[in-house]
Symmetry: C2
Subunit: 466 residues, 2 copies
C-alpha cells in the first residue's frame, strides 16, 4: 500500500487531548476573567486581503506573511506576466504579484478593520477580547512556532484612565487566578518618557537610541545602561540625570512624587504623570495590591505604536521575560476610517505563559484526559446494564466512556490507567445479578460496591465533585 509521510507542516503543532485538557482550562479561565470585566468575544477570519495587512508590520512583517496563492485564471494571468522581460523577480515583488490574500499576522489590525467596517453596529466604547491563532513564517525554534495563539484585550472609543487601570487589573486577575505568586506589572507612560528626554536635554535624533538603551535596564543593569548612553555621545550631565530618573526606587506614588519636579513642568510630562496618578488610584480602588505593580521609568515598549500609558507583566523569579503587556495607542483605527479613535489594550503571551506555568510547577501533570470514568463491559449479556450505568453517570454531568467490547477486566483497567481516567465502574455477572456496580478509584485503589441506582451520586463523591 502506498504510504504518505504523516508529517505536520514546519513550525506547527498537533494538540493531543492531554495538551488540550490543560490549554482549554487556561483559555477558559482567561475568557471567564475578560467577560467578568465586560469584555466581549470577537472573531475575525484567518484570511485577510493583503491590502489590509501589508505595510502594517514593517518590511520584516511583510516578508513573514503566509500568503495565499492566487487560483485559476487569475493565477494563470499572473504567471503569464512573470514570463515578460523586465519583471521584478525578487521574492517580495513575486509574492505581491502572485497573491492578494494572506493569513492573519496579529489580532490588532483585524480588530481595527472590524471597528472601521462595523462602526454603525458597534456601541462605543467597545470592550472586546480575541483569542485566535496567527501565522508568521519565522524560523521555527524552541518555543517559537509559525502558527500560534495570540490573546488581546482592548477597548476602543474612550480616553478614560479607568480603562488603562482596567488593563492592569485584568493582567493582575488572570495571573493571580493562574496561580502565579511572583508577578509584577511594570507601568510607565510615553508622555513621561518624552518629558524625560526633553528635561535631560537629549537631542531629538538621540532619543530613540537613548530609550532603547534605557529599556535594557532589567537585562544589563544600571552600569550597562550608563555605558550605552555614554557611547551615544550624550553630555555627561544628561546621562547623569537620565540615570537618576530611571533608578528612582519606591512605591508607585513615591516615584510619581519624585518625578513631579523634574518632569511635571513640560505639558507631556504633566499630563503623563496626572494620568498615571489616576491609574494608581483606580488600581487601589479595583483591589489590586500595591506590591503587584510598579512605576518603572525604564519600561519603553514599541516606540512607534504606543501614545500613552504602557504596561508589561514579568515574573520576579524567572528569566522568561514578559508574559504580556500593552498600552494606549490612538492612531490605529484611523488607518481604516480616516478618523483616529482612542484605544487601550493588553495582550497575553500565551506560549510564554505555558512555559512559565511549567517552570513554576503550576501545570497539573496528572490530568491527561477529560474523561472521568470508564464503564467496563463483561459479556454481551451485561452490556445493557453497563450502558444503563453510563447513562446515569452522564445524566449527572459526568464524562463517562464505555469500553468498546466485552473483554477480560485487566486490559480494560490497563486502558483506563494508560489514559489517566480516575474512576472505573465495574460490572461483572455478580454485580449485575444483584443490581450493583463496583466503583474503583484507579488513583488510590479504594473501591466500593453500590446499588446501580446510586452509581452517579457515589461517583461524584469519589471524584470530589460533591
Amino acid at each position: 500500500m502506498a504510504r504518505i509521510a504523516p508529517v505536520n507542516a514546519k513550525g506547527t503543532r498537533d494538540f493531543l487531548p492531554r495538551d488540550l485538557v490543560q490549554r482549554n482550562r487556561i483559555f477558559g479561565l482567561m475568557r471567564d476573567t475578560f467577560e467578568r470585566y465586560g469584555y466581549e468575544p470577537l472573531e475575525t477570519p484567518s484570511v485577510e486581503n493583503t491590502s489590509v495587512l501589508e505595510g502594517k508590520y514593517g518590511e520584516e512583517g511583510d516578508r513573514l506573511l503566509f500568503r495565499i496563492l492566487k487560483r485559476g485564471a487569475s493565477l494563470e494571468s499572473a504567471a503569464h506576466d512573470l514570463a515578460n522581460d523586465g519583471t521584478d523577480t525578487s521574492a517580495s515583488a513575486l509574492s505581491r504579484h502572485l497573491s492578494d490574500e494572506a493569513l492573519r499576522y496579529d489580532l490588532t489590525v483585524p480588530f481595527a478593520r472590524v471597528v472601521a467596517a462595523h462602526q454603525n453596529d458597534i456601541a462605543l466604547p467597545f470592550r472586546r477580547y480575541q483569542m485566535q491563532p496567527v501565522w508568521r513564517a519565522d524560523r521555527p525554534q524552541r518555543g517559537r512556532y509559525r502558527e500560534f495563539y495570540q490573546c488581546d484585550v482592548d477597548c476602543v472609543g474612550s480616553r478614560s484612565m479607568l480603562l488603562d487601570a482596567e488593563m492592569a487589573a485584568i493582567h493582575h486577575e488572570v495571573f493571580s487566578r493562574l496561580g502565579f505568586t511572583t508577578f509584577v506589572t511594570r507601568i510607565n507612560h510615553r508622555g513621561v518618557l518624552d518629558a524625560l528626554m526633553q528635561s535631560c536635554d537629549v537631542p531629538p535624533e538621540q532619543r530613540v537610541p537613548a530609550l532603547t538603551a534605557i529599556d535594557k535596564l532589567d537585562k544589563i543593569v544600571a552600569e550597562g545602561v550608563r555605558e550605552e548612553l555614554d557611547k551615544l555621545g550624550l553630555a555627561p550631565s544628561s546621562v547623569q540625570r537620565l540615570m537618576e530618573a530611571i533608578t528612582i526606587a519606591g512605591e508607585p506614588r513615591e516615584v510619581l512624587a519624585a518625578l513631579q519636579d523634574r518632569l511635571g513642568t513640560t505639558p507631556s510630562g504633566a499630563e503623563g504623570l496626572r494620568e498615571l496618578g489616576e491609574v494608581f488610584t483606580y488600581l487601589d480602588e479595583m483591589g489590586v495590591p500595591a506590591e503587584r505593580y510598579t512605576f518603572d521609568m525604564s519600561l519603553v515598549r514599541a516606540l512607534s505604536y504606543y501614545t500613552g500609558t504602557i504596561y508589561e507583566t514579568v515574573l520576579t523569579n524567572s528569566r522568561l521575560g514578559s508574559l504580556g503587556g500593552g498600552g494606549r495607542y490612538d492612531r490605529l483605527i484611523g488607518q481604516f476610517t480616516g478618523r483616529d479613535l482612542p484605544c487601550v489594550g493588553i495582550s497575553f503571551g500565551i506560549e510564554r505563559i505555558f512555559d512559565a506555568l511549567r517552570e513554576q510547577g503550576l501545570l497539573a501533570d496528572e490530568a491527561t484526559t477529560a474523561t472521568q470514568a470508564l464503564v467496563t463491559l463483561f459479556a454481551s449479556e451485561t452490556v445493557a446494564a453497563s450502558l444503563a450505568v453510563a447513562r446515569s453517570l452522564r445524566a449527572a454531568g459526568l464524562r463517562a466512556e464505555v469500553y468498546v467490547e466485552p473483554r477480560d477486566l485487566k486490559p480494560q483497567l490497563a486502558f483506563a490507567n494508560r489514559k489517566g481516567i480516575p474512576l472505573a465502574a465495574i460490572l461483572g455477572p455478580d454485580e449485575q445479578a444483584r443490581g450493583e456496580v463496583i466503583l474503583r478509584d484507579l488513583r488510590t485503589h479504594d473501591q466500593r460496591t453500590v446499588p446501580q441506582a446510586e452509581a452517579a451520586e457515589q461517583a461524584l463523591a469519589m471524584l470530589g465533585e460533591r
Copy 2:
C-alpha cells in the same frame, strides 16, 4: 489621512459579540455532549503539507485548496523555472509548482495523519472530536462560505457496533439538547446495499447509477426513482424488486425482518443486517427513543468512502436537508500507516444547524451580549464606590462592565440598552451616602434599592441565577 478599505476577504465572516454569544453556547453544548461520551478534543494545524492533502478530495478538491505561496529563495527559484519554455502553465501545474503547503480542507485527513504520526502515544480505541475551521475556495453563496467550521466525532481502532450505535446516540443527544423536536436519524449499511444490488440482479456497472437514483427517494419520491431506474435499462423485475425493498415501511426491526429473507442469504447482506440489529439493540439500551431513528434502505451517502453502517439526521418538517451524518470507514488511516484501522464517525453540519435553529425558532434573539450588568458612574467622587460594587459582582461570578467615565445617567442606560445588558447597578450621590445601590432590571424596569454589601446576591436573584 490615507484610508484602507476595511473589507474582509471574499467568502469570510467577522463574528461580532452578538453572533459569538450564540455560537459559543452551541459549540459549548456540543463539546460537553461529546466529552460526556468520553470523546476527547483534538486540534491540528491550519496549515498542512500539500503532500498530505493532495489527491484526497478528488480533482475538484485539489482545485479548491487554499494554497500557501512559497517564500524567499524557494519562491524565486520556482518562479525562475516558470520562465523556461515548455513549462506547464495551467493553474493546476502552477499551483503545485508555487506552493508546498495549504490550508486544512476537512478534519478527517488531518485526524488520520495524527493517528498515524502518534501511533505510540495514542491508546486505541481512540475516541476524539474536533471543531475547527476549514477552507475551500468555493464560489461563495447564501449559507456557503470559504472559511467555515466543521465538527467531527470519530473513534478509531475497534469494529464494535457499540461505537456505531454511540454515533447515532450522540446525534440524538446533541439535537435533543439543541431543542429540535422533529429530527430523525436515518440508518443504513453499505453491505446491505451491496446485497440489494446483488439480489436484484443489478449488473456491476449499473450499481453506482442505481444507488445514485435510490438515494433521491426523499427528494423525488418513489415514482421519480422508478423512472430513473427504468432509464438505466434495468430489467423490469429488477426495478420491481428494488422498489419493493426501498419502500418497506415500519419500525427498524420490522424492516430488518422483512429484508432478512431477501438479503440475508449473501455474506455481505447477512453481516450488514446482523450489525444493524446490534446497533438497534444498543440504541434501545442507550435510551434513544424508537421514533428518533429509522432503517432507511434509500440512504446511500458517499459511495467510495463508507464501508459499513451509515447515518444521516434530518428534520421531518424542513427542507434544509441533512444536519449531519457519517458512518464506518476502514480504509483512511492506511494511507498513512500502510495498515488499515477500523474507524467510525459522524459530523455535524455547523452552518446548516444554525440555519435550522433559526428556521425552527430555537435561537434566542434577545441575547446580544454576554455582559450581565452595567455599573454606572455618577461623578469622580463616587467612582470608588462603583468600582467596589463591580468588584463584588465579579467575585460572585457575574459579568459586570463599569461605564467608562462619569456622565448623566441617561446615556449610560442608553448604552446598556443598546448592547442588551439586562441589569444596571446605579450609584448616585444619595445611594453612595447611604451605602446603597439601585439595581434596575432594564428589561422589566423593576428596580430595588439595596445595601451595597448585598448587591451581588440581589443581582444574581434578579438575573434568575439564584
